[in-house]
Subunit: 221 residues, 2 copies
DNA sequence: CCGGATCCCCAGGGATACTG
DNA sequence: CAGTATCCCTGGGGATCCGG
């Protein structure tokens, strides 16, 4: 990317990660951990392979990414974040927090992946009752799935399915996320195309963090 | 900007503010407050007026910016952030925090402005001794100046000059910021081209916050 | 199937000039 | 002062192809 030419830490940061797709590549490496070119490509629907290749090279030169040749049985190159790249997590968290208010709009054809479902819950909700016993919630959004474990005041989420869950929420991505993030309540679950199986009460354990944009509106309407 | 087409709050946020210059426009409005087209242009060296005009229109449509026609005596249009735009401050803070480690590199010809000097100090340093009386530090970097007031555990900084200061630090931007941010100590002030006037000891009141990238390296080297 | 490289084409953005 | 208009060029989307 062409430099902004400003002696300012924001501008210099954007000189490095302001290119198209750059921060989304970091997102995928953060969520997936060390992974292959193809895994990245799959986690970034719409990216041209040539562009992905070019960005990876740039980010490697900038010291955000390291490529490691996997040991013999695998014989492929893996991409991983360096400490400097991992230090971008707060940036992605704050951007994601700001972008939450854009998730209610239905754009229909957007791609969706299970790791995005997982990070949304883990980053933007908290355990409403740290003293209560652990609960497991299974989320199924279209063909993606994630397991949410709420316990000891923290919320952990990962792509995949659990053998057993206290509650299973199934439906389109917008509805699953909307319910989990508190955009609407269980009463509206039906009209939103959701199917809830199990103890609905455990949903109360998941408290959505206050949205940054809403908070700003409330502070100064 | 072309949409990424991901149903993910990070990607949707970048659909809105991922365009070139967009976040820097927000930076200027955050630092300068409500201001005119020309003020923005001046705070964004290198931007083409046509591009600035286009971005302002886009950001206005996205609801981040509002244009207000100033009252009669002025008769110009002012641009200001809406609450939604102001909610981007944590994003700019985290990006700026990550970009701090890029500020040591000397790129020589970079533009520099007093409001960037001010926010760097205010965002990334803290009062090392909240009980001690207020101190005022005058920073002069080339032709820009900022006043830093340290008191009651907080650091306030603004562009401009103070009638009187406990300490005046003058020199090239990289050196002034390097000293204030703790990259080097007062012993190296001479070689860095700095001139210190007043009580050097008050510099100890300014404690730089730990750099995110350094912290990441230390956690996992 | 993996990890790219190559090619074409268009839109986004840089530079400069110009106008209400 | 507050933008538009114009020109040009690069960056990136899309598809295809190629070596391992």
């Amino acid at each position: 990317m062409r430099s902004y030419g400003h002696y300012c830490s924001i501008a210099r940061a954007l000189d490095v990660v302001g290119d198209r797709w750059a921060l989304l590549i970091v997102r995928e490496l953060l969520l997936q951990g060390s992974c292959r070119f193809t895994d990245l490509k799959h986690g970034l629907p719409g990216v041209a392979p040539s562009l992905l290749s070019a960005r990876l090279k740039e980010l490697e030169e900038a010291g955000l990414i390291a490529r490691e040749d996997a040991p013999p049985p695998i014989a492929t190159t893996l991409y991983a974040l360096t400490p400097s790249g991992r230090a971008l997590e707060p940036v992605l968290r704050s951007i994601g927090a700001w972008g939450r208010h854009l998730m209610v709009a239905d754009r229909g054809e957007d791609a969706f992946q299970s790791q995005w479902l997982a990070y949304s819950v883990e980053w933007f909700t908290t355990d409403a009752d740290p003293e209560a016993p652990q609960v497991v919630i299974q989320l199924i959004a279209d063909d993606t799935a994630a397991v949410v474990e709420v316990a000891d005041g923290s919320v952990k989420a990962r792509p995949g399915r659990a053998p057993t869950a206290d509650l299973t929420i199934e439906g389109p991505p917008r509805s699953v996320l909307g319910l989990v993030m508190g955009v609407f309540g269980t009463k509206d679950a039906g009209p939103m195309g959701l199917t809830l199986t199990g103890r609905r009460a455990v949903l109360a354990r998941l408290r959505p963090l206050r949205d940054a944009v809403e908070r700003a509106h409330h502070a100064d309407p």
